[in-house]
């Protein structure tokens, strides 16, 4: 057991994966000599060599396309996309090739490729460096989409993603890279695609994942002071979604607020609201509300405090579901 940052937990998971399986290779822009723009892969090329930790040409489609080829050869590539907004040159390879090849082959081919993407805003970045594209991947059959919210999950979920035989989009909440937590590599992990109730409450459920989990917990703490008991669920996996855990929580509280940074329009929250309405129609005391980004390109950094769902916006939604 050690206290470490989320970024270092990812590094430790990659190191352990490289040590455990000689077929694991890392690929990405500046991940070797530099250790990545966030230093997440720091020291790995030095210790494992240039074949296993590949500094690639600056071409995202090329990275994912060649990762598919390496996977066909029996390797288990873990790809780093430098920033969320830079994944789109690779989107074609991810959607038309990576996601579909297993089905195309009649189930004969497995493509164990993990695509790590630092995502989300709140770091004062320039354009294309603060986006949350999870719904664009969750909509694609053949992909798995997960996002850890803390250091312990970052470690175990990445180990599980690399060990699995399906393509995984692994979204790293970049503004939480330096949040510290306890990581115990020996701990028995929760299943990769399970949601977790991380704070019990009676009056309403707030569901979040990735960077907004901490915000949701902070909101729950403030609500507690104001006399409202909020349950918090960390969804952890966007595809598949663990609706059993979500349903159980909503059945306890009767109210649900879904929080994510991505725009709410056609977002994860919409899918969750539809499922929860179907499963818990008889128990819901209020419509499912969504708190998230607006239907606009991610705004300039000086305005992102107003764009991102924060503690007040979550509390506002909690008040609104309680008002029904």
């Amino acid at each position: 057991m050690a206290t470490t940052t989320l970024a270092k937990a990812v590094n430790a998971a990659l190191r352990a994966a490289l040590e455990d399986d000689p077929k694991v290779v890392l690929m990405g822009e500046d991940i070797g000599r530099l250790g990545g723009v966030f230093r997440v892969t720091d020291g790995l090329q030095k210790d494992f060599g240039e074949r296993r930790v590949k500094d690639t040409p600056l071409a995202e489609s090329g990275i994912v396309g060649t990762a598919i080829g390496l996977a066909l050869r029996g390797y288990r590539p873990v790809v780093e996309i430098q920033f969320d907004g830079f994944v789109f040159p690779a989107y074609d390879q991810i959607v038309t090739q990576l996601a579909k090849m297993r089905a195309r082959s009649g189930g004969r081919i497995a493509l164990p490729v993990v695509i790590r993407i630092p995502y989300g805003g709140g770091i004062g970045a320039v354009e294309h460096h603060s986006e949350s594209p999870e719904a664009l991947f969750a909509h694609v059959a053949g992909l798995r989409v997960v996002s850890p919210s803390n250091a312990a999950d970052a470690y175990t979920m990445l180990r599980q993603a690399v060990a699995g035989d399906d393509p995984v989009i692994y979204l790293e909440p970049k503004r939480r890279y330096y949040d510290k937590g306890e990581v115990d590599p020996a701990a028995s992990p929760h299943p990769l695609h399970s949601a977790r109730v991380i704070r019990l409450g009676r009056d309403a459920t707030v569901l979040a994942y990735g960077p907004t989990v901490r915000t949701a917990l902070e909101a729950a703490a403030v609500a507690e002071e104001e006399g409202t008991s909020v349950e918090v669920v960390d969804l952890r996996s966007v595809s598949p979604v663990d609706f059993d855990t979500v349903e159980a929580s909503v059945r306890r509280t009767g109210r649900l607020v879904v929080v994510h940074e991505a725009p709410v329009f056609f977002g994860t929250g919409a899918e969750i609201a539809a499922h929860v309405t179907e499963r818990c129609f008889d128990r819901l005391e209020a419509p499912v509300l969504r708190v998230g980004g607006f239907h606009m390109p991610y705004p300039p950094a000086r305005t992102e405090h107003a764009y991102l769902p924060d503690l007040d916006r979550i509390l506002d939604a909690v008040e609104r579901v309680l008002a029904y």
Binding site: V25, R51, T56, P57, A59, S61, G62, V64, G65, T66, A67, I68, G69, L70, A71, L72, R73, G74, Y75, P89, D92, Q93, T96, Q97, K100, M101, R102, A103, R104, S105, G106, G107, R108, I109, A110, A141, G142, R144, G164, D165, D166, H193, S239, P240, V241, D242, F243
Partner: protein, 351 residues
Amino acid sequence: MVQLLTPHGERVHHPDYDIEPTPGELREMYRRMALTRRVDAEGVTLQRQGELGLWPSSLGQEAAQVGSGLALRADDHVFPSYRDHGVALARQVDPLHIFRLFRGVSHGGWDPAEKNFHLYTLVIGSQVLHATGYAMGVADDDADSAVVVYFGDGATSQGDVSEAFNFAAVYDAPVVFFCQNNQWAISQGVERQSKVPIHRRAAGFGLHGVRVDGNDVLACLAVTRAAVERARQGREATLVEAFTYRMGAHTTSDDPTRYRQSAELTQWARKDPIARLEKYLLNHGWADADFVAGVGEEGDRLAQHIRESVRTMPDPDLTEFFDLTYAGEHRQVTEEREWFKEYEASFVEGS
């Protein structure tokens, strides 16, 4: 342009690329090309009769496909596009796999490992990156296999293809880029795809570039064999431009009379790859009319087998496809599959 057999069936020589196949090897090249043409014609016919949804014809490109395909060892890897029926036959892939795809009972569904012949790829140029990554893996394994990837002149406009050229060059990947320049990408001539001859693009990427007469099976075999050897030796990857012609439509859905002149077809028909090898074989007494007729009969038997098999291919049940999407369990897929099974069963029970 490398040429070893003229359109008139005369043998010529090239200082860098020369091979002397035995008469038996020449007859085998002829046989594979003739079978390819017969299988392809059956594909067009079956589509016209409503048995296939679509068929992309390989007519005219038999030499490029069979010649290059025969240059490979069993442990070499082929990444085809979607018109490469001759490569499939050269690799002894069961042609029924391809017919399943175009009938619409699978998206391919063959085991690429069986003949080291990967799935057909319909998104133009995507497979060129897969082949390059595969070749990077071959190099990392310190193996001496080569990887050959097939694509057309249209694909050279795709960014993925340029990215693949670059990755192959900077990682010294043992790959051969085999571009069949058949002059047409649906309705657009190659002049819309590239300002310079395609093989000349190689230099800018640090690849070895060569143009070969794509209707000359000997030259295609020789050039591919040399390119594969370069790959095995770890020398720079090769871009082969096989200069050929798409004699048929783009696919059975296409109407080439809207965009090209019949005079062009007449001109290219004189360069036919099968006719020129037949002349060469007959002139030297390495084959006779009986041999030619025998290959024709073998083709008819194969076509008959394909026809009967295609017509009796059972339609699969949609239920099978739920489980092909993921290797592991996915809750939403499981829920949808179970719902669908119950829904289907409800009709049976209620009837």
